[in-house]
């Protein structure tokens, strides 16, 4: 049974790319950055993630915005790298900045796909 759920999740990862990875302006409403952690995380994202995942979309690397990976998996990947992605050790992204980055990535993923009025 567990294996079935695991395989189901695994399959989901390959099929989520059916929707758009676009988030925020100008296609949708801005990403809410009223929380300080999210606002700080946006700066961290733009420093380290933006070049390969512009706006969280596909570029040199795959899109982040539409991948339903849990937070601990994202942390593991950032710290250890994977495939073409380099590792970002705590000397580069401090634990506090990593927390902020996760807050921003989650806010970006959850951002409503509604145009601001």
């Amino acid at each position: 049974m567990r294996l079935r759920y695991t395989l189901l999740l695994f399959g989901l990862l390959f099929t989520v790319a059916c929707g758009t990875a676009k988030r925020g302006e100008p296609t949708y409403a801005p990403i809410p950055t009223s929380e300080p952690a999210i606002a700080q995380g946006e700066v961290v994202f733009n420093t380290y993630c933006q070049p390969c995942h512009p706006g969280g979309e596909t570029g040199l690397g795959p899109a982040i915005n539409d991948k339903p990976a849990p937070g601990f998996v994202i942390r593991f990947q950032i710290r250890n790298g994977l495939g073409a992605m380099p590792a970002f050790k705590k000397e580069v992204i401090s634990p506090e900045k990593l927390d902020d980055l996760l807050a921003y990535i989650k806010a970006q993923r959850k951002a409503k796909k509604v145009k601001a009025s």
Binding site: T20, C52, P54, A84
Partner: protein, 484 residues
């Protein structure tokens, strides 16, 4: 707990998607529409409260725009495009109703890369693919004169866009001859190595080399065989440890300046790769956009974003041994499974600064301007035109990168899309099959600050033979803020 680690591993494998096995999906690759260029502003997404319309169409390789003292808009056509297309560069006035009136035409020494109107005259950057780069003055009745020349522009990159400072100097960028300071077979693919087999990069100051050399099969029919080539040297010329290369100005990969009345170029800063866009911020600080390294040639560099730099006089910004303030140490910036670049310079002029912002890899972030008032919004932010990737020649991307206009908050480096094409994915209109943006090359705010003009270069397909730019597909867009 074991299950959690197993699941993590499984998810990570899924997320990695094995970069090396995936094919490149750049914006100029695949099924690109080249037989027509429909134009429809409704296909472009903007923030709420803004509208866009095309104000000129049918242009051939437009690259820059300016306004005269009466507020009339002028656009330049480059006269050269990658793919070895040589035409006559032109300065054209945009008339009411979308008409175009030719003011001046230049020699086949393009690409013209930038234009400004200042105190009654136009000033144009002449890229210099055939004779070297120049700064031209053009009177309103079309008389051309050269106010500076001899810029090293016979290679991959050219004399770039220009801006006039409050000190009465014209500031302009100068691109490098090569990707990362070593002439190789990729330069033969560009076309220029066969024309100028002795051409190479020129440092702005004396440098000492580490003596690395790179061996390739010669692409030159008159000089066949295996050739060993060092940095800042002609193709087929090896270098030695400790060899000193004398610097001089004008030089490669620099920001320089000349007085408005003309004269010898002076060095402002160096260590850039291709500082294409240039603008003064409202606070008077000078910024440039810099097209970063490609994954090509004898010394490919992988995974470096384009940069927005604040230019500090007398500073070296890192090319060819740093990217974005990070040193090449033989570990970073190597293609997965490839060789990471090592330093070419035994000593570096200074530790390079960190960029103001890091833009998308291969986005070709080019012309820029600053919003100066509340009438348009985003006051003080830099607007940057992203020409879009030239994959696979510049390097592989998994989806199109660029093909839009972004804005940058220079206080914190946050980049936000401003004008992008509608659609599930990003890309040029020729790939998305609609009438939106193709390859934004430059942006310019109107003198009243109420409108943003986007110079759209037009269609450039990437083929097995190289870039295939399409004439008469260029557009000028005007973005306005609604008053209600």
């Amino acid at each position: 707990m074991k299950n959690q680690y197993f699941l993590s591993l499984l998810i990570l494998i899924g997320l990695s998607s094995c970069y090396r096995t995936l094919s490149s999906e750049g914006g100029g690759q695949g099924d690109i529409r080249t037989d027509s260029r429909p134009v429809n502003g409704a296909d472009i997404e903007l923030p709420s409260g803004y509208t866009v319309e095309a104000v000129a169409t049918g242009l051939t390789f437009p690259t820059g725009l300016t306004f005269d003292e009466q507020g009339r808009a002028y656009v330049i056509e480059a006269g050269y495009a990658y793919g070895e297309v040589f035409l006559e560069p032109k300065l054209l006035r945009l008339d009411q109703g979308g008409g175009l009136t030719q003011v001046a035409a230049g020699q086949k020494n393009g690409p013209w890369t930038g234009v400004v109107f200042h105190n009654g005259n136009f000033y144009v950057s002449e890229g210099g693919q055939m004779e070297g780069g120049k700064i031209l003055r053009i009177t309103p009745d079309g008389a051309l004169s050269t106010i500076a020349e001899g810029m090293p522009s016979l290679g991959d990159h050219h004399t770039d866009a220009l801006a006039v400072g409050s000190d009465g100097f014209i500031y302009f960028g100068q691109g490098t001859a090569t990707n990362s300071a070593v002439v190789g077979t990729d330069n033969a693919d560009f076309g220029w190595l066969k024309r100028f087999p002795d051409y190479h990069d020129v440092p702005c100051d004396d440098i000492t080399l580490t003596g690395q050399n790179f061996t390739t099969d010669s692409p030159l029919p008159d000089n066949p065989g295996k050739k060993s080539t060092g940095a800042y040297s002609p193709y087929g010329t090896p270098t030695t440890i400790g060899q000193v290369i004398k610097g001089r100005v004008p030089c490669s990969g620099a920001v320089m300046r000349v007085p408005l009345e003309g004269g010898k170029p002076e060095l402002v800063a160096w260590g850039f790769r291709n500082p294409f866009g240039i603008a003064f911020a409202p606070d008077g600080k000078l910024y440039v956009t810099d097209n970063s390294y490609d994954e090509r040639g004898s010394r490919p560099v992988w995974g470096t974003g384009d940069y927005l730099w604040q230019v500090q006089s007398g500073t070296w910004y890192g090319w060819p041994d740093y990217s974005g303030g990070l040193a090449f140490d033989g570990e970073k910036f190597g293609k997965p499974g490839g060789v990471a670049p090592k330093p070419l310079l035994a000593r570096h002029p200074n530790k390079p600064p960190r960029p103001t912002a890091t833009l998308g890899v291969h986005s070709s972030s080019n012309g820029m301007d600053f919003s100066r008032g509340d009438s348009f919004g985003y006051q003080g932010q830099a607007f940057i035109a992203q020409f879009g990737d030239m994959a696979p020649n510049a390097g592989k991307v998994l989806d199109p990168v660029g093909f839009k206009v972004v804005r940058v908050d220079v206080s914190n480096g946050i980049i936000t899309d401003f004008a992008v094409n509608k659609g599930k994915e990003n890309g040029p209109a020729s790939k998305l099959k609609h009438g939106g943006l193709e390859r934004p090359m430059a942006v310019k705010f109107s003198p009243d600050g109420q409108s943003l003009y986007i110079v759209d270069f037009g269609v450039m397909q990437m083929t097995e033979q190289g870039p295939a730019p399409q004439q008469k597909t260029g557009v000028v867009w005007k973005v306005s803020r609604n008053n209600n």
